[in-house]
Amino acid sequence: MSNQRSVKTRRGAYIALLASMVSVPMAVAAYKLYVLDYPLAGLIPAPSYTVEVAMQVDGHGEDIRIQTYLPKTDGRQSVDNEESSSGVFVPNMHSDPLNREVTWNAENVVGQHNIRYAYSVRAHHVRFDIPEGMPIPESYPVALAPYLADEPGIHKDDPQIESAVNRIVPAENRTMLDVLTRIHRHLQDNIANRNFSGYTDSLIALKLGEASCNGKSRLFVAMARKLNIPARLIGGFVMEQGSKRTSHQWVEVYVNGHWVPFDTINDHFAEIPANYLTLYYGDQALFRHTANVNFQYMFKTTKQLVPQRDAQDALSQSALNITNLYAHFERVGISQNLLKILLMLPLGALVTVVFRNVVGLETFGTFLPALIAAAARETGLMWGVVGFLGIVLVSAVIRRGLDWMQLLHSPKMAIVLTTVVIVMMATTVGGVQLGLFELAHVTLFPIAILAITAERVALMEAEQGALKVARITLMTLIVIAACYAVMDSLFMQSLVLAFPELLLVVVALNLWLGKWIGIRVMEFMRFRRLILEAAK
């Protein structure tokens, strides 16, 4: 009777704990979102591009000058982490309201020289709506006069441009939207895209009926100006993962106080995507350099996801925030990065629990996969796995040798650990010697985790054999990769940093999994004859 009462009390306590582990964090999170106005969108990591411009020249004793444009931060794109290396060349920056120009000069240059300039970029997609029926203004402020003028390459006043405009656009009821749509469609549909890098002016593009980006853009600008719509050329670059030499040009048209982008190569009407990088305004050449120096260049772009720093900084202004707590940790020298690893460990442990109790994989220790995934955050997944396999192999081999000598357990394990440490240090030295700097990071693998892994592997190899160790190593690797994917996810990190109370939900999930008595996936396979054949 009393036994039954204690069972009931225990079940009541379980349900109460489970309910509070769900409701308390949800209530705190809701309070932050609705009362404190946490920006939720700021938690989603944004794509960021690292662009590296590599330039090369061959000198034969002459003075060399190289000029190009650097991107500026504006309302659509933000540029930071700029760094450069230019060797013998001396850089000289020049900014005007529109463009940022850099010139590298060097005297009496002999032999091959490289200049490298890198920066990271985050940019937004923009899109404008041009109101229907909006008329084309008859006059503009004086400052816009240059964007309506005839200039070399943009033959606004040429009769051929005029007749082409009259063919495309009806004489009556010219509205902004209608005119721009007709020009855009004509250039997109009737002038073929040609992928060559030479200079094409507006007349040649019109005559040939085909052009690359610069010819089409000049023709667009000439036609718009002819119709009394201010327009200008934009020089830039489409950021895509990989290396390439092609830059890009598109146009901007002045509509109702805004410069509105158009790209008739890739059919963007009054919009440009987030991976367009603006480098300069006007009909300029991206690179200018001294002649006959065999100038070569290459754009190398890497895309990555980064947390939205500004949104996270905004969070720290609110009360009830973990970022306020960070100050306490920083005072004793614990970095935010370490704190992040600590906060992600419970998630790694949860992933491990799911793989063990729901999927049915066996791993070395309950939390070893989560710990190894945390360690691999410093080295990257690949070198983390290499480090882990190295430890498994070295400890197994060493233990075998020591067994043959018949030593007591603890001193034997101490020798295994020492050997692992020596091998890791040798790996780092070897990595640096060979120029494999990523390999050198293996030493960042925390020693405490090495100790646990080495001991587990050695014990299991002795008790259950090498085949079993190989099987469990494979399964542990799968779980490490899954833990890494979750723990390294910027979204999860931002989420837990902003809402650390969600760790209680992890407890709730574990409470639930702790009572889950279903058949594990691997067991379903093991008993499939009993289950599937009986069900036929």
Partner: protein, 306 residues
């Protein structure tokens, strides 16, 4: 639509049959944790402790000739062992049949193992030292037991000519749930361990008649080495086997158990008890054991309420 319905009803059917299999999570949570308190685990892990308790409760087990706990005790090993015609050496905390040597007789100064292998006094001293050293146990150090050798009943030898077969009975709340006999094969190297390739033969608890058999994960009807039919045999002393298993289950505070028994010409002898009995017995029997377990626990609830 019809296809979907057929698929759905098959899924329901699969769920129903999956629900009959006792799986790891449920075994641990509902049977091991609730019925076997951790403080009682040493009773099952330490064969000498278990033997003490079980023999005191009148459970028949092989006779213990000697126990070696320290190296100095091995001084007069040859004289000690000379007193017995045949015997078994085993670690007190071993598992999976590892570290067991069966001696069947003497040849000059040496001993003859069951496989015909010759052991010198040095070999046996080395083996017993290894056991004391803890090579076969999870702990750091162990004790070596010298026991009387069990002779197998003739009918069991017919079924299992390559070594000693044991009968495994799962006991829940002192009642038998499912049983099988594990028959050593050439593949298993004389060991009665399913994972090492022993033949598993299911036995009907009520009648003692063999019903299914499994070898290396596949159903089989004949012994893979001798070709002898293994199904439809009635095991000798079956009533006594079940009685022995029940007496052993009553003698210990562990209420979810695997009981291992060997059948000698004079009747069954208990070999050991296991607190975490495996689940493979269900594949050997070709059915899940959850319905039987639930029937046992449902009976108890009815009794509790009366």
């Amino acid at each position: 639509m019809m296809a979907l319905r057929a698929w759905w009803s098959r899924l329901e059917e699969v769920r129903k049959h999956a629900g009959k299999v006792l799986a790891m999570n449920r075994r641990n949570l509902h049977y091991i944790y609730t019925r076997n308190q951790r403080k009682h685990f040493p009773l099952a892990d330490d064969k000498l402790l278990a033997k003490e308790v079980l023999i005191a409760a009148g459970v028949s087990m092989p006779r213990t000739h000697r126990v070696y706990s320290y190296f100095y005790e091995l001084r007069d090993l040859e004289a000690d062992l000379g007193a017995y015609e045949d015997f078994v050496i085993k670690p007190a905390q071993g598992s999976g049949g590892n570290g067991i040597i069966v001696i069947v007789g003497r040849k000059g100064d040496d001993w003859v193992g069951i496989s015909g292998k010759i052991y010198t006094a040095f070999d046996l001293r080395k083996h017993i030292s290894d056991i004391i050293f803890g090579i076969y146990s999870f702990d750091l150090g162990d004790r070596a037991i010298i026991e009387s050798r069990i002779l197998q009943h003739a009918e069991m030898t017919e079924l299992s000519p390559l070594g000693l077969a044991d009968v495994r009975i799962i006991m829940c709340d002192e009642k038998p749930v499912m049983s099988m006999t594990r028959v050593p094969t050439r593949q298993s190297d004389g060991k009665a361990n399913l994972h090492q390739g022993a033949l598993g033969v299911a036995i009907d608890i009520a009648s003692g008649i063999t019903t299914h058999a499994q070898f290396l994960g596949q159903p089989i009807a004949k012994h893979p080495d001798t070709g002898i039919a293994v199904l439809g045999r009635r095991l000798p002393f079956w009533t006594e086997v079940i009685e022995l298993a029940e007496r052993a289950a009553q003698a210990v505070p562990l209420k979810y158990l695997g009981v291992d028994i060997s059948i000698s010409p004079d009747g069954p002898l208990l070999l050991e008890i296991n607190v975490r009995p495996g689940l493979e017995i269900q594949n050997v029997n070709g059915r899940g054991m959850l319905p039987v377990l639930e029937a046992i626990t449902a009976d108890e609830e009815v009794r509790d309420e009366q």
